[in-house]
């Protein structure tokens, strides 16, 4: 039985077309490619922030025969299917970490993390307690009551990781999580991320430009080729 993410599809944004075919199992896979090749767009499609124009996106387990429709197997987006299923982003169980964190500026670090738990129906007091525990796991317990504006890049990122991963996601998407950090914070957060990602079961996809991140965090690499003219950008398995 394999657990994982399956995407065979096409994403369009205006004139931009991206064709992707990807399989991610219980592993961390890198997504690389030039700026503007559509890496973020691809993550957005998996998160449900952008619908597929064609094809199929599914997550979960298949049985030994490979038959779809087994227990735990969910089609997230399939515009060509007769019923055109589309699971909206808030019901996909995705954790997405954005490059500039996007912590809510009007909430302190603890309430940012508690936000996800509250949406899952956890009561306020318990959500805050669990948020504090999560912040401690990421080494930023002392910043629980700090507003995002007062955090350094490395600190903000740890809070953002705690927020995204606290709910036990079934898919993890990381959009250049280490790119905006200085060298020291980058090294520390890379080690932390490696440890945390190893503890989470399921498909994990990491956009990066950095060979060190790739070597330290990822098992495999998909490369998005940017194309010119009318050819769609395509995703290929590197190596």
């Amino acid at each position: 039985m394999t657990v994982g993410l399956e995407l065979d599809g096409e994403i369009r944004r205006g004139d931009f077309v991206l064709r992707a075919s990807l399989r991610v199992g219980d592993e961390t896979v890198a997504l690389t490619g030039a700026n503007g090749a559509g890496k973020t767009t691809l993550l957005h499609a998996i998160a449900g922030l952008v619908p597929l124009a064609a094809g199929r996106l599914a997550v979960g387990a298949r049985d030994a025969t490979g038959a779809a429709g087994a227990a735990g197997y969910t089609v997230l987006d399939a515009p060509d299917a007769p019923s055109a299923p589309f699971v909206p982003p808030h019901r996909r169980g995705v954790a997405m970490v954005f490059q500039d964190h996007l912590l809510f500026p009007f909430l302190d670090a603890r309430d940012n993390v508690a936000f996800a738990l509250r949406r899952a129906g956890v009561a306020r007091g318990e959500a805050r307690a669990r948020a504090e525990a999560a912040l401690a796991d990421y080494g930023v317990a002392h910043l629980a009551r700090a507003r995002p504006g007062r955090l350094s890049g490395g600190e903000a990122q740890r809070v953002a990781l705690a927020r995204a991963l606290v709910g036990g996601p079934q898919i993890v998407l990381l959009d250049e999580p280490l790119a905006a950090l200085d060298a020291a914070a980058r090294r520390d957060n890379r080690a932390l991320l490696r440890e945390r990602l190893a503890a989470i079961r399921g498909p994990k996809l990491l956009v990066t430009h950095d060979r060190e991140d790739l070597a330290a965090l990822c098992a495999r690499e998909y490369r998005l080729e940017r194309t010119t003219g009318f050819e769609p950008a395509t995703l290929t398995l590197a190596r």
């Binding site: 957005h44 998160a47 449900g48 922030l49 909206p88 982003p89 808030h90 019901r91 996909r92 995705v94 954790a95 997405m96 954005f98 996007l102 809510f104 500026p105 009007f106 936000f115 996800a116 949406r119 899952a120 927020r163 995204a164 709910g167 998407l173």
Partner: protein
């Protein structure tokens, strides 16, 4: 020190421009100086009693009600104008902001033609079916004020909604927030500064409303006679009361500017 403090450049302006600018400032400030000179401070409380006081209270209350009505009707409109792309959006925006540039008396005439009891487009039906009469009532004052004030709120909110970073809403979605939750907990929260500015502007406009009010709701003491109407009438009969009431309105409007401070002057360059 504000952000501009350190970076503000010393510009050597031509003398003629400085003189003209001083004249411009004086043009605005001299009337206020004159107004304050007419106020008899010793008897201020007494001057502001009786009809002046009831008009002021009526105005404060009706401006609050009008702002609330403008918010309920205007916020969804601002959202649609900012977020939805449809044919005729520019035309709709222009029409909605028409009361800002229209002579208020014409607005009052239009309201009369729409909600008047005897021949109004909807007014007759309102009266026959529900017994509601807006003309010459306190609610008529509220409707007239909301009509002229709502465009200010809609424009301020629309600008705010358009400038909200939508990626915060995307982040909220991936954290499990449904669309209505995102609107209530994220978008609205990010909009609070624009909302405060819009409410303050709309309320100030409602407070000062004269033409549409007198045309549509009339000038009935203790029912539809607002502070601006009272100032106009008292200037004939009791100038001291008129100036006291005027000074009170100036004080109220200065407080509104203080609410907007930091947003419209100071931090913004």
């Amino acid at each position: 020190m504000t952000r501009g403090g350190a970076a503000r450049r010393r510009v050597r302006a031509p003398r003629a421009v400085v003189v003209a600018a001083a004249l411009g400032a004086a043009f605005i400030l001299v009337p206020f100086a004159g107004l304050l000179r007419q106020v008899r401070w010793a008897s201020f409380a007494a001057d502001l009693g009786g009809p002046a006081r009831s008009a002021l209270l009526l105005s404060l209350a009706s401006a609050v009600a009008a702002t609330a009505l403008a918010l309920v009707l205007g916020a969804p409109l601002a959202w649609v104008l900012a977020r939805m792309d449809f044919r005729g959006r520019a035309l709709l925006r222009a029409l909605v902001t028409l009361p800002m540039v229209l002579p208020p008396v014409v607005g009052g005439a239009a309201l009369l033609a729409a909600y008047g009891r005897s021949y109004g487009l909807l007014g007759r039906w309102l009266f026959d079916t529900a017994g509601v009469q807006l003309t010459f009532s306190w609610w008529g004052v509220v409707v007239a004020e909301a009509f002229v004030a709502m465009p200010f709120l809609v424009l301020a909110l629309e600008g705010g909604i358009a400038s909200v970073d939508r990626r915060y809403e995307q982040a909220a979605a991936t954290l499990g927030a449904a669309p209505t939750t995102r609107l209530a907990l994220v978008t609205t929260r990010l909009l609070l500064p624009s909302l405060a500015a819009g409410l303050a502007l709309a309320w100030a406009r409602a407070l000062g409303e004269f033409g549409a009010t007198i045309t549509f709701a009339g000038n009935i003491e203790a029912r539809t006679r607002t502070a601006p109407l009272a100032v106009y009438l008292l200037l004939e009969s009791d100038p001291r009361a008129a100036y006291a009431l005027s000074a009170a309105l100036v004080a109220v409007c200065v407080s509104v500017l203080v609410v907007l401070r930091g947003r419209w002057w100071g931090t913004r360059r």
